[in-house]
């Protein structure tokens, strides 16, 4: 009886202390989370994926009504542009039809030359189209959440494309939702090259909308407007995917404007090229 009483007193004392130092305890727990995150442990990664799967449906639930409200406003704004767009699209269609004919000729020629050289074509890429349900693009991180996951065979490290070019890569995969790291995020590094002269470098995000190209040879010739494509080095991104164009060159920096409009992504393609550049979870 006496022991039970003293235990009770101890417990209530601990409870009072916990209440008193709740802030300190919570601050320490947040620091601990940051440190664990820094170690890139599998536990944190899996917990984070599960948590994303649990919370994302709530944001997903709001997407349709929010877009509907925003859509009404956009509708009246866009109605003026329709006629102009129609004219432009007709012109563009003419050019594309010309290009299609040329492409067909080149495709046949390419096949013939390939067979002459005994060239083995790479396997065709598989892809999943996913809807974007959440996005963030502030000073601290640039990422989006897509409605696709393990169930659709999405894996960490797979390439994410929009209709215009590279958007980023899959960072975390849950059962239904995946987090995609954009090429503008501070953690993003993509091996790229200048299309015309094959000068290689690394596209490094810095949480602004215009990432920088670093590790360029000193004698490299670069001009504003040059097309930048993936170089295929490191085996995460295959070579030749369009990334952006050179926007500015100064003494210290070469900034690249991505082709994809990363501020307003609605749908993306997550492509499986069968590359194993990023160490997968099982290997970790």
């Amino acid at each position: 009886m006496k022991r039970r009483r003293s235990l009770f007193i101890h417990l209530s004392y601990i409870r009072i202390l916990a209440k008193k130092f709740a802030i300190v305890i919570l601050v320490i727990s947040a620091f601990a989370m940051m440190l664990l995150n820094k170690t890139e442990s599998l536990i944190i990664e899996k917990t984070s994926s599960v948590a994303t799967d649990m919370i994302s449906p709530m944001v997903d639930f709001l997407v349709v009504p929010a877009r509907l409200v925003a859509g009404v406003y956009d509708y009246f704004g866009e109605i003026k542009e329709v006629y102009k767009d129609n004219q432009n699209l007709k012109e563009e269609n003419k050019k594309l039809l010309n290009m299609y004919d040329k492409m067909k000729v080149l495709e046949v020629e390419n096949k013939l030359l390939g067979s002459l050289l005994n060239y083995v074509a790479p396997p065709e890429a598989k892809f999943v189209t996913a809807r974007i349900i959440a996005e963030e693009g502030d000073a601290f991180s640039h990422s989006v959440i897509a409605y696709t996951g393990n169930g659709d065979a999405v894996k960490k490290g797979q390439v994410v494309l929009s209709d215009r070019g590279v958007v980023g890569r899959v960072d975390k995969v849950g059962n239904m939702y995946s987090k995609i790291l954009l090429i503008t995020d501070i953690n993003s590094r993509v091996p790229v090259m200048v299309e015309k002269n094959r000068v290689r470098g690394i596209l490094a995000g810095d949480n602004t909308s215009i990432p920088k190209m670093i590790f360029i040879p000193l004698d490299a010739e670069l001009n504003i407007g040059d097309r930048i494509v993936t170089s295929g080095v490191a085996g995460v991104f295959p070579a030749g995917l369009p990334v952006g164009k050179v926007a500015a060159i100064d003494k210290n920096n070469v900034t690249i404007k991505p082709y994809s409009n990363l501020d307003s992504l609605e749908y993306v393609r997550i492509v499986d090229y069968g590359l194993e550049g990023i160490i997968n979870d099982e290997q970790q």
């Binding site: 709740a22 620091f31 929010a66 963030e136 502030d138």
Partner: protein, 200 residues
């Protein structure tokens, strides 16, 4: 015979009055329970509404301002509720809001929790200067407290990555948050005035 009838009547009267008492008690208990449940849910309203605003801030919309920068909704909500109703918006609400934002965003896990806790600590110490003051004073208060919190967050994430994050983006994000404060606080005030009773 008459005496027996009188006794029976008295007994039945007592029984029915007992029945009436127990029914009244039950109703009273039911009312009390309903009241308790109502009060419990009302205590959760600020947290749920803040959560809703945070979720909305992540909805992908083609915003007219470039670079996709959005106001720090969590800062506004925590500031508003700690200043106006600290009795129903406590430390754990702040912690869980931070945790949920950490899950949604790609910042290192724990960053949003820490920054919201910094805001909470600042408000514990200086919140009384803004409570019950005209709107313009609370707005200035938010501008000061948000600046300190955002700088802390910027410093924490910069240390984490080992490089300074672009300051212009942080400054823009800060200005946008301060500019959005009146609208967001108006929404919170609506919830406070129409959905929450004074004596929760």
């Amino acid at each position: 015979m008459f005496g027996l009838w009188i006794m029976d009547l008295r007994e039945s009267l007592t029984m029915s009055s007992n029945k009436f008492n127990s029914m009244a008690d039950r109703n009273l208990i039911r009312e009390e329970m309903t009241e308790n449940v109502k009060s419990y849910f009302q205590r959760l309203i600020p947290f749920i509404f803040s959560l809703l605003l945070i979720f909305l801030s992540y909805v992908p919309l083609d915003f007219f301002l470039s670079e996709n920068i959005r106001p720090a909704v969590a800062f506004v909500c925590v500031y508003y509720w700690i200043i106006h109703r600290p009795d129903i918006f406590n430390l754990f609400s702040v912690y869980f809001l931070g945790l949920i934002e950490d899950v949604l965003s790609s910042v290192p896990m724990g960053t949003n929790i820490l920054s919201l806790l910094v805001l909470y600590i600042l408000l514990l110490n200086f919140g009384r200067f803004f409570n019950g003051k005209p709107f313009i004073v609370t707005w200035y208060g938010f501008a000061i407290v948000c600046l300190l919190t955002m700088l802390t967050k910027w410093l924490m994430v910069s240390i984490y990555y080992g490089q300074f994050l672009p300051f212009a983006q942080v400054a823009f994000s800060y200005l946008f948050s301060v500019a959005a404060y009146p609208v967001l606080s108006l929404l919170n005030a609506f919830v406070q005035n129409y959905l929450i009773q004074d004596e929760v």
